[in-house]
Symmetry: C2
């Protein structure tokens, strides 16, 4: 039997969140948190609307997932995010002890990989899932903003 719950399946849901950010004029990044193939939290970038540099998609999804679980550690959870997390978000993910991070497009300038941010030793990382879709959305956003 084919497992429908692939990384692509969940990343599509994160992309839907990114599209919601796009529609609000926010840099289009979306994130969801999944446990046992169930989506327990969603978030999209709201830094402009909330006038708050900390309002990244991941931060909101981490907070919402902890709220759902009733505990601040996200052990057993996977975060799907359309863009590679920054230092701040990777630092939050470190504290959360999340089990897995799946990201789409890489951020060569400000992503945690280049920045050298440490994740929790128990966290595994998968990258490049639906990266083209995430990149295209970002490119479209910056083209439209320049108009």
């Amino acid at each position: 039997m084919i497992n429908p719950f692939t990384d692509e399946y969940f990343m599509k849901k994160a992309l839907q969140e990114a599209e919601m950010a796009f529609e609000k004029g926010e840099i289009p990044v979306g994130a969801i948190v999944v446990i046992d193939n169930k989506v327990i939290a969603r978030g999209h970038n709201l830094t402009e609307m909330l006038v708050d540099v900390t309002a990244h998609a991941e931060m909101q999804a981490i907070t919402a997932a902890a709220n759902y679980l009733g505990g601040k550690y996200l052990i057993g959870c996977t975060l799907y995010v359309t863009l590679e997390p920054c230092q701040m978000c990777a630092g939050a993910l470190y504290w959360s002890q999340i089990s897995k991070i799946v990201f789409g497009a890489s951020d060569e300038n400000r992503g945690f990989v280049k920045m050298g941010t440490q994740l929790h030793p128990k966290t595994t990382v998968v990258s490049g899932i639906l990266a083209n879709e995430a990149s295209e959305l970002m490119k479209r956003f910056f083209v439209e903003r320049r108009k």
Copy 2:
């Protein structure tokens, strides 16, 4: 004339915030944001109460300061925090473009200096202000928690 608005003066206010965290059973870290010698935001660690790893003192102070200013960049502001910021908080401070960070005690294990987290190039850092007071409060917290 002697300037009363020294780093020690403001760090005492951050220590008051740390004491509020202590009284709530939270790891005692406090932070304030100052602009033109005026305190515009306060925060103390609330990770247990809010069940949220992102609820560090600095994160709350950054959000509150941006709310006060009506803009997400903290240019011209100084953050006073009793303990060296972690990767997450330093990452948030990077995005905020804050002008100055003053911290008390160093965090040799999880502080941003050892972790190599990048701050904004325009941010200056002062460390060791009332470091003993901040350290003593932390030690007292962990001694009491072990009882």
